[in-house]
C-alpha cells in the first residue's frame, strides 16, 4: 500500500456556495490517529467534512480518502463512517432499525447485520433503548445512536461532526475513550469541535480553521508554539506616542512600533502581548503617557487563536 493510500488528502480544495465562501484552498494530508478540526461556528469544519464524504462537491481541487473518492461509493463507504451533525432521523425509526438497515445495504445478511448492530449498540451504550423510537430519545441518545451507526460497519476512517455536543460528562468521557480505542486500532478519526480544550488531550494533531481557511495545522504542541510566536498587532491611542514607541522598542518581543499619522497613537506588533500590556501599565502608572484606548488591531487570526486556545497560549 502506498503512503497516499493510507492518508486522507485535500488538494487545493475550495467550496463556494454561490458567492459565499465555504472553504478556500485547503491542502493538507492526514495519517492515522485522531485529528481535530477546530474553529468557531461558521469556520468551515462541517463543510470540510461534507466535502470529505461527498455530500457536497468541491468547486475546485480533489479529495482522496485512503486513495478512494466518494464517487466510488461501494468501496468508499465501506471504509468511511460519518456521524453528521444533522439531528434528524427517518420518521418512525427505532434505534435498532436505524443501524440494522444501512448494514443490510452494505451487503450483510440478516444474522450478520443483527450481530454488528448489537455490537455497535453495546459500544455506544445504547443497547437497552435500541427498540425505542428515536423520536423519543434525548439529544445525547440521538448523538450516540448516530455514532453507533457510523461505527457499526467497522470503518477505517471515522468522521465525527461535533460528536460531544449534547452529551453529559459521563457519556462524554465514554465517547472520548471509544474514539481513543478506535484510533489505537490504526484507524483515522477526524473530530470537529469549536472548543479546542474539548479535544486537544486526545488529538494527535489539530487543524485550526477560521472563515473557511486553515490557519494552522500540525501536532498540538506545534500549533501552540505557532500561536505564541505569531506577532499580534495592538493599537494604542495615547498622548506622547513617541515616548511609548521608544519604550516598546526596548522590549525584545516587539517587532514593530509605528506612530500613527495623526501622532496620537502607536501601532505595536509584538510576539508577547502579555508582556507588552505589563509595560503599558507601568508607563501609564508612571504618568509618562495618557492612554485613551487600547485594542487588538488584527481581529482575525490572533483573535481566533485566543478564542480557541485561551489567553495563556501555553501547553495544556
Amino acid at each position: 500500500m502506498t503512503p497516499e493510500a493510507r492518508q486522507i488528502v485535500f488538494e487545493n480544495v475550495s467550496k463556494f456556495y454561490g458567492e459565499v465562501l465555504g472553504v478556500n484552498k485547503v491542502s493538507f494530508s492526514l495519517g492515522p490517529g485522531i485529528t481535530s478540526l477546530v474553529g468557531p461556528n461558521g469556520s468551515g469544519k462541517t463543510t470540510l467534512m461534507n466535502l470529505l464524504t461527498g455530500l457536497i462537491r468541491p468547486s475546485q481541487g480533489a479529495i482522496y480518502v485512503l486513495g478512494l473518492m466518494p464517487q466510488q461509493p461501494i468501496e468508499f463507504f465501506r471504509q468511511v463512517g460519518y456521524c453528521t451533525q444533522f439531528d434528524s432521523f427517518p420518521p418512525g425509526t427505532n434505534g435498532y432499525d436505524f443501524i440494522y438497515w444501512p448494514l443490510r445495504l452494505h451487503g450483510f445478511g440478516h444474522d450478520q447485520a443483527a450481530k454488528l448492530t448489537n455490537e455497535a449498540l453495546e459500544r455506544a451504550g445504547m443497547a437497552e433503548v435500541a427498540r425505542r423510537k428515536v423520536a423519543g430519545y434525548s439529544k445525547g441518545m440521538r448523538q450516540r445512536i448516530r455514532l453507533a451507526q457510523a461505527i457499526a460497519h467497522h470503518p477505517s476512517v471515522l468522521i465525527l461532526d461535533e460528536p460531544l455536543n449534547g452529551l453529559d460528562p459521563m457519556a462524554r468521557a465514554e465517547s472520548i475513550a471509544l474514539f481513543e480505542a478506535i484510533a489505537k486500532q490504526g484507524m483515522h478519526v477526524i473530530i470537529s469541535s469549536h472548543i479546542l480544550e474539548e479535544v486537544d488531550r486526545i488529538s494527535d494533531r489539530v487543524v485550526l480553521m477560521s472563515s473557511g481557511y486553515v490557519v494552522a495545522e500540525g501536532q498540538i504542541k506545534e500549533v501552540r508554539r505557532e500561536v505564541r510566536d505569531h506577532p499580534m498587532q495592538i493599537l494604542v491611542r495615547c498622548s506622547n506616542a513617541a515616548r511609548l514607541a521608544a519604550a516598546a522598542f526596548e522590549l525584545d518581543h516587539v517587532v514593530e512600533a509605528k506612530i500613527l499619522n495623526d501622532g496620537h497613537g502607536v501601532l505595536v506588533r509584538t510576539g508577547d502581548a502579555e508582556q507588552f500590556y505589563l509595560l503599558l501599565n507601568k508607563i501609564v502608572s508612571g504618568g509618562l503617557v495618557e492612554v485613551d484606548a487600547v485594542a487588538p488591531a488584527d481581529d482575525d487570526v490572533n483573535s481566533i487563536y485566543q478564542y480557541l486556545i485561551g489567553s495563556d497560549g501555553g501547553p495544556a
Binding site: 455530500l55 461509493p73 465501506r78 418512525g92 450478520q112 467497522h154
Partner: protein, 289 residues
C-alpha cells in the same frame, strides 16, 4: 467468525458479485421506501378511490336500470373515468405526490444524507426509489380501477358476467390495468426527474400537465414525447366526446399496441437515465431548502 472476518467476507462477496449486491440493495430500498410511502399521503388514497365512490353512488342510485343499453352507457362512462380522470388527474397528481417526494421529501426531512453515506451507487438509489414509488402507485391505482370495473358490471348480473367473461369485458380490464401501470411508470419517471431538477417541482409539474393536454395539436414526433400519447393508443374503448375535450381522447396518428407499450417503456427508461445523471450532481445542503 470474528467481526473482521465477517466484514472482509462481505467486502469480498460484493466485489465478486456486484450485480447480486445491487439486486439486494434495490430490494431493501424498495421495502423500506414502500413502508414509508404507504404510511403517509392520505390524499393520494382519496385521489385513487374518488371514482370508486362515485360509481358506487351511481350503482346505488341507478339500481333499477340494469338493461343492456345502460351497460353500454356505463362502459363509456368507465372509459371516460379512466381516460379523463385517472390519466389526466388521478394518476398524474398521485405520481406527482409520490415520486417528487422520494428525494425532495428526504431533503425536507433532512434525512437524505443517510442514503448518500452508505455503499450504494446513486443510480441504484434512483432505481430502488423509483421501483418503490411504482409499486405503491401501481398497487393503489390497479386496485381502484379493478374496483371501478367490478362495480360497473357486477350490478348487471348475468348480463354483466357474460359481457366480462364471454364478451370484450375481460380484454378491456386487462387493457385498463396495463395502461394504468404504464401511466404510473411514465408519470413516475417524469416527476422523479423533475424533483431532481427543481427545488419546487409543482410549477414544472403544471407545465407538464399543460403539455400533456395540448400535445395532440403538435406534429406526430412531438406527440411521442408525451405520456398520454402512448396511453391513448392502448385504451380499449373510445370515449364518445366532441369539441375541445376530444383532444384528450382522440388519437390522431394511432400506433400499434406493441409500439405504444415499448415506446412508453423506452420513454420511461430514458427519463430514468436522466435522473441517474442528475442524482450525481445532487448535494446535501439542507440550509438551502
Amino acid at each position: 467468525m470474528s467481526t473482521q472476518d465477517l466484514v472482509a467476507g462481505v467486502q469480498k462477496w460484493s466485489k465478486e458479485q456486484p450485480w447480486r449486491l445491487f439486486g439486494s440493495q434495490i430490494s431493501i430500498l424498495v421495502r423500506n421506501e414502500v413502508s414509508r410511502n404507504l404510511r403517509r399521503r392520505i390524499w393520494i388514497y382519496l385521489l385513487a378511490l374518488a371514482p370508486v365512490l362515485i360509481i358506487l353512488t351511481h350503482v346505488i342510485v341507478g339500481r333499477h336500470s340494469v338493461d343492456v343499453a345502460q351497460m353500454e352507457i356505463d362502459t363509456d362512462i368507465l372509459a371516460g373515468i379512466v381516460q379523463l380522470y385517472y390519466f389526466r388527474l388521478g394518476v398524474f397528481f398521485a405520481c406527482m405526490g409520490i415520486f417528487t417526494w422520494l428525494f425532495r421529501g428526504e431533503m425536507v426531512e433532512r434525512t437524505l444524507h443517510y442514503q448518500f453515506l452508505v455503499p450504494v451507487r446513486r443510480e441504484v438509489l434512483v432505481v430502488g426509489k423509483f421501483l418503490a414509488g411504482a409499486v405503491v402507485a401501481i398497487a393503489l391505482f390497479e386496485m381502484a380501477v379493478l374496483a371501478c370495473f367490478y362495480l360497473t358490471y357486477a350490478r348487471f348480473g348475468s348480463a354483466g358476467k357474460s359481457y366480462v367473461f364471454d364478451g370484450p369485458g375481460l380484454g378491456q380490464l386487462w387493457s385498463y390495468l396495463l395502461v394504468t401501470a404504464l401511466a404510473c411508470l411514465g408519470y413516475g419517471a417524469v416527476f422523479l426527474a423533475l424533483s431532481l431538477l427543481f427545488k419546487n417541482p409543482i410549477v414544472p409539474g403544471v407545465v407538464i400537465m399543460g403539455w400533456e393536454g395540448i400535445a395532440p395539436i403538435f406534429p406526430a414526433w412531438a406527440q411521442r414525447l408525451s405520456v398520454t400519447f402512448y396511453l391513448k393508443n392502448l385504451c380499449p374503448v373510445s370515449v364518445p366526446i366532441h369539441g375541445p375535450l376530444a383532444l384528450f381522447t382522440v388519437v390522431a396518428e394511432p400506433v400499434s399496441p406493441l409500439i405504444a407499450v415499448l415506446g412508453l417503456l423506452f420513454l420511461t427508461i430514458a427519463i430514468l437515465a436522466l435522473s441517474c445523471f442528475l442524482i450525481h450532481r445532487m448535494e446535501v445542503t439542507y440550509t438551502a431548502e
